[in-house]
Symmetry: C2
Subunit: 251 residues, 2 copies
């Protein structure tokens, strides 16, 4: 214990597959006294914390603020009674991880904390697709965003500008509204024939990829999407034919 | 060997610190027959490949196309003579990793390959800063881009739209032109007082953070930046005072 309180590590558990955890995260789990983990984190990752009390917190989506407040308090409470506390979050803690609330609570309580980055879902999806998100001559920028509602509904339209402004766009969450997302992006000027790839459960053994165009998505061509999934939008996701490949490789 | 050829893994080595490597990457290195690695990858990571022939390829920046072509050929050649080939790239292979050229070469040669994602520099920087890139009410989108030249010089201005379109913007590379980047962003409408944090060598023991505003950056307030560095732009990087923290934490 460092003075009165223990130390908290906010740790990224990666996209899903247990071996996409970092070496540092694995070591911190092995040394932890308490682990608070998101429901989505793979059981094999949680099991690495052999000596720790393990507390499942929160749900993946639809988590309401009282639940977040419960997590904040549980985290502070854990650090008041234990030397080494790991807060294990899916993906990376600093990207769509709701980390600010937990950081605020730790700082307000004067608790020492560190952040350990992780592999985020978009990069696991790109690996699954074997498609670079950036590519010379095709894409030099990538935007990651979450969509809550369609354009025209008010305050939450920033995601549309972000996706339209970048060469490659990745939407985390909200994929259950994929058709509405596509309508909003086309309305904002994204080309209707922009290729789309939806990667369900990237890095898991049952991962699945669905392909269409923005127009197809808007028409409802993709009926059901299993979550978690990321929606990948951009020219880099076009299927390349063999001839183009040979030219690209200089053969 | 799978048929005539070996298999290639394009593997992310993470942002720098050896223990931010994934467990999968560590195992693949231990099993590798040949490793082709970027100059920036930490020697301790390369050393994990105890049984492999280790080949240093490429430079971090200013790499010219003939060098890339040399790498492509070396990769194909390695897979023709060895069962397990690891191509180790800094950060994540699919984000600013020039992976497409290598994938094209592997596909054209009919070589089996897989991609293993890694922790990208922006997320290591966010961990270092202990600042979430997305935050409720403040940022719901992040753009990652590279800047080659200022607005008005022609074809390469897409990065400006990407950074202006998103709530949080991260520039990989090009930080040596930080003042010109800031001028371009302000000209495109990004608020002059937008907070900036520059993180040099994120995750390394000698990492350093420099803070200013876009206007300050444009005026040349930050004279020297050690690379590799990421340039982080957005309201999330504002310094929060203690009072605001207590309110945020509901105390």
């Amino acid at each position: 214990m460092n003075g009165l309180h223990g130390t908290v590590w906010l740790v990224g558990a990666g996209p899903g597959a247990p071996d996409l955890l970092t070496l540092r995260a694995a070591r911190l789990l092995q040394e932890a006294d308490v682990v608070l983990y998101d429901a989505l984190v793979h059981p094999e990752i949680v099991a690495l914390a052999g000596n720790a009390r393990k507390i499942s917190v929160g749900k993946r989506s639809g988590r309401i603020s009282t639940e977040q407040r419960f997590i904040d308090r549980a985290l502070v409470e854990a650090a008041r009674h234990h030397a080494r506390v790991v807060r294990l979050k899916g993906g990376d803690p600093m990207l769509f991880g709701r980390a600010q609330e937990e950081i605020d609570a730790l700082e307000a309580a004067g608790i020492e904390y560190h952040v350990v980055p992780g592999v985020t879902a978009a990069l696991a999806a790109a690996a699954e697709l074997r498609t670079p998100l950036t590519s010379r001559g095709l894409s030099r920028s990538v935007a990651f965003a979450t969509a809550r509602s369609g354009r025209g509904t008010g305050e939450d339209d920033g995601w549309v500008d972000a996706i339209v402004g970048a060469d490659t766009g990745i939407l985390y969450m909200g994929v259950e509204h994929a058709a509405r997302i596509a309508v909003s992006l086309i309305a904002a000027g994204k080309a209707a024939l922009t290729p789309v790839a939806i990667v369900e459960r990237a890095s898991h053994p049952d991962s699945r990829t669905l392909r269409c165009t923005l127009a197809g998505l808007a028409r409802g061509e993709i009926a059901e999407i299993a979550t978690p999934a990321v929606l990948c939008i951009g020219e880099v996701f076009a299927k390349r034919d063999a001839e183009a490949l040979q030219i690209a490789a200089g053969l």
